[in-house]
């Protein structure tokens, strides 16, 4: 087919495009994914038994912020990465803030603690399970976000896959906060971060294949 013919065919009878439709669909996918993660957590892990008491401690909120900030920033950045030509440089700066803050807090706690307590602050009682469970809770959002990206046009698929992983990992971590009894900053700064990075690595690895269009 000649290029001119193609152009005429594409333009003929072209319908109006609702540009808010993609935003709605993306929001729906992430909302549904978050809900599924919450149900998964409630049915298999359950809320932490001392949740009411924990709500009164600053550390609970610091931990929650450590997960919520990358979740929100990551989701916005993924949506932008789905649109050719959009810039996301700012996202990396904002993503670094909670990580650096939690690392600083963690180091401060380790330095202030007596030497024999330091291992407990870092490993808690659930260090092995924590990243795996966060990765597991990230799965619904991860899958739904990647499939929502099919409708968009990510031109940097590896980065987009990684960002989808960070965002879904952070949603998983947010939900996990409601279950996890660990309250030490050194623990959160390492194992929560690792939990978010697992889906990020998976996303980066499969981005080019999965997000092809």
């Amino acid at each position: 087919m000649k290029t001119d013919e193609l152009i005429v065919m594409l333009a003929t009878g072209v319908s109006a495009v609702d540009r808010n439709e993609t935003r709605r669909r993306f929001a729906l996918a992430t909302g549904l994914g978050g809900l599924l993660a919450l149900i998964l957590m409630l049915t298999t892990l359950g809320l932490r038994t001392d949740l009411a008491a924990a709500l009164a401690t600053p550390m609970f909120w610091a931990k929650l912020a450590f997960a919520v900030v990358p979740a929100v920033v990551g989701l916005i950045a993924v949506f932008r990465l789905g649109r050719p030509g959009a810039r996301v440089g700012w996202a990396f700066i904002v993503l670094a803030v909670p990580v650096l803050a939690m690392w600083a807090l963690g180091v401060a706690q380790l330095v202030a603690a007596p030497a024999e307590n330091r291992a407990a602050l870092l490993f808690g009682r659930t260090w092995l399970l924590c990243p795996l469970l966060i990765g597991l809770l990230a799965t619904p959002v991860f899958i739904l976000v990647l499939s929502a990206l099919k409708d968009l046009a990510p031109t940097r698929p590896t980065l987009t896959g990684a960002m989808a992983g960070i965002a879904s990992g952070a949603v998983g971590a947010t939900v996990y906060c409601l279950h996890c009894p660990e309250m030490a900053a050194p623990f959160v700064s390492v194992w929560y971060l690792l939990g978010m990075l697992i889906p990020a690595v998976v996303g980066a690895a499969c981005g080019r294949r999965v997000l092809r269009w």
Binding site: M1, T3, D4, L6, I7, V8, M9, L10, A11, T12, G13, V14, S15, A16, V17, D18, R19, E21, T22, G82, R83, P84, G85, A86, L152, A153, T155, W213
Partner: protein, 178 residues
Amino acid sequence: MEERLRCLLIAGLGGDEKSYLAFLGQLGAYLRGYFVRRLTGFPGDVEDLLQETLLAVHNKRHTYDTSIPLTAWVHAIAKYKFVDFLRAHGRQAALTDTLDEESEVFASKQTEALEASIDVQDLLESLPNRYRLPILHVKLQGLSVAEAAALTGMSESAVKVGVHRGLKALMARVGGES
């Protein structure tokens, strides 16, 4: 260029056929130059890549955000399709550059001869329905895209893509059999 094309695209996104046609036409001319400069090794592939890119622009036009400069949006898509093309053809084309050019000359002559002799219906039958039906209705029976879409239950966009990809597949088959 930015401002004029932007206005045409935005009108086109609102459903204005004339503006959208002008947008694609001017964008096509611009992108042809863009690809000619980059595909110095394989000039025969410029139109192919250009059509892939125009199809991508059309299919993904809902991802254009008015806060993004149009040139940034277009370049990101063109570059993506260009890299995609290089990945698919790069290695093979680098090895058989001269041969490719020669075989292309042969292919086009043989294609012309074959077009007359091969039964179009037989060739069409070998295509999957998503390609066969759009070509049958739009190219052979002369229906409009909208009519073909209503008849087959496909979306108009799918009919357009089907015609384009189907014709390409047909040409590949004719070339392959020769």
